[in-house]
Amino acid sequence: MDNLLEIWLASGAYNLKAGQLVMIIVGLFLLYLAIKKKFEPLLLLPIGFGGILANIPQAGLALSAVENAIYMGGPQFLTELSSLLGVASGAVTELTEAYRGAEPSLKSAATLLAQDAGYNHGMLYTFYSVTVASGAAPLIIFMGVGAMTDFGPLLANPRTLWLGAAAQFGIFATVLGAIGMTMLGIVDFSIQDAAAIGIIGGADGPTAIYVATVLAPHLLGAIAVSAYAYMALVPMVQPPIMRLLTTQRERQIKMSQLRPVSKTEKILFPVLLMMLVGMLLPDAAPLLGMFCFGNLMRECGVVDRLSDTAQNALINIVTIFLGLSIGSQLVASKFLDIQTLGIMVLGIVAFAIGTASGVIMAKIMNVLMGGNAINPLIGSAGVSAVPMAARVSNKLGLEANSQNFLLMHAMGPNVAGVIGSAIAAGVMIKFVG
């Protein structure tokens, strides 16, 4: 009977806390969005499942060896850890906080102490350390994205880069929004938090994850979920804004066919972009370096097997572990907070402002260039969310005129938006990192 009792006392059901239950429901909801609503399933499915795993009571899958030892360990360990971390009381919450805020050397000592006591990192914590904390996973995914990106339409009409620039206004407006929320006393975001939240408006998953990892790791879960969920909502968020800001006549503008782009141009572009980044904004070099490397592998034509692997096996493997790792951040103490609500609200605002800025920029360019060269509908594609935003532009173009195919034209600002938000990310890391 003792054994039965022991198994019950150690069971998930007995130990389940309200916060964990809510987070498991959040995880299930993400699975629902991924599977039934097809919201960016490649990321949201692993994130949702990882979130469920992370909230199984007693399993400690998302916890470090030290945290597991704090929750499970005996009094002797707690005393030793308290003295190591310089914490007066041996209270669990205080120790956990002291550990999380400790310097790397102290963390390293605490980890050895916990391992000596027989505790180990949880599975998801290990995945998180290797993929996210090292910074490697979003960069490797960005390399794969680079290997999937065709800069042809952008090269055929480089001025669309301005649309990709304008749409990044959503990022910086959101930073101000986050600051405003803080000033109103609703939440308490630091400037680093605000910058990391703003980047959701970049509509680019790996960039958002990378920036959050550097500037605000405690918000990573909420930011990643928000970024991917809103990207999936692009077909719903953008059209009303685009219709509001354009006339029927503007939407009917037909754009001249894109000129063919030579292979040489496509090869030189990632190299030039890399040089420019290196010379002007070294802080964006990891992100855009890997992106340009991936694109160069794609276009150079002599390393197809590497390009294939970067686009398939490698990016898939990293995506699986990155998703589970992000899911491991969906714990009640970090996620069930008014801040998450704030991030959700700000994220959608960021998308809306980015969309509007892109459309308005397109209209301004039309005026400045004195003509009808650009259909403003392609401006909204500047937020990135490749290739969904471009498809939205195309759809609205066809609505206005069934012969008006904008897809290729919208792909230019679309990929420009990827560059734009990576640059914005670099600026933020430079100034507040």
């Binding site: 480089p158 620039a165 407006a173 000033m183 030579s262 292979k263 420019l276 002007l280 420009a416």
Partner: protein, 83 residues
């Protein structure tokens, strides 16, 4: 608080400014590069385009055959493997 706002405004001004300046420079550099390429590689422009579209589109029957064969083999393998 006001400091936070000031920081935010600065970040916006310089961030947005830098993005625009950088992408403008990129436009210039790209256009110059394209001009150079078109000027010094007038003939090759047409050839590479053809070479490019073929593998990319998978339009030739060779590529289609490869796709079909890949699928078949893939399926065959994934079924018989147990681990």
């Amino acid at each position: 608080m006001d400091e936070l706002l000031a920081e935010g405004l600065t970040l916006m001004a310089f961030g947005m400014g830098f993005v625009v300046v950088f992408l403008t420079l990129l436009i210039i550099v790209t256009m110059f590069m394209s001009w150079l390429v078109v000027r010094f590689e007038p003939a090759p422009v047409i050839k590479p385009v053809k070479a490019k579209t073929a593998p990319a589109q998978a339009a030739s029957s060779d590529a289609q055959l490869t796709a079909v064969m890949t699928a078949a083999i893939h399926k065959y393998r994934s079924r018989r493997n147990g681990q």
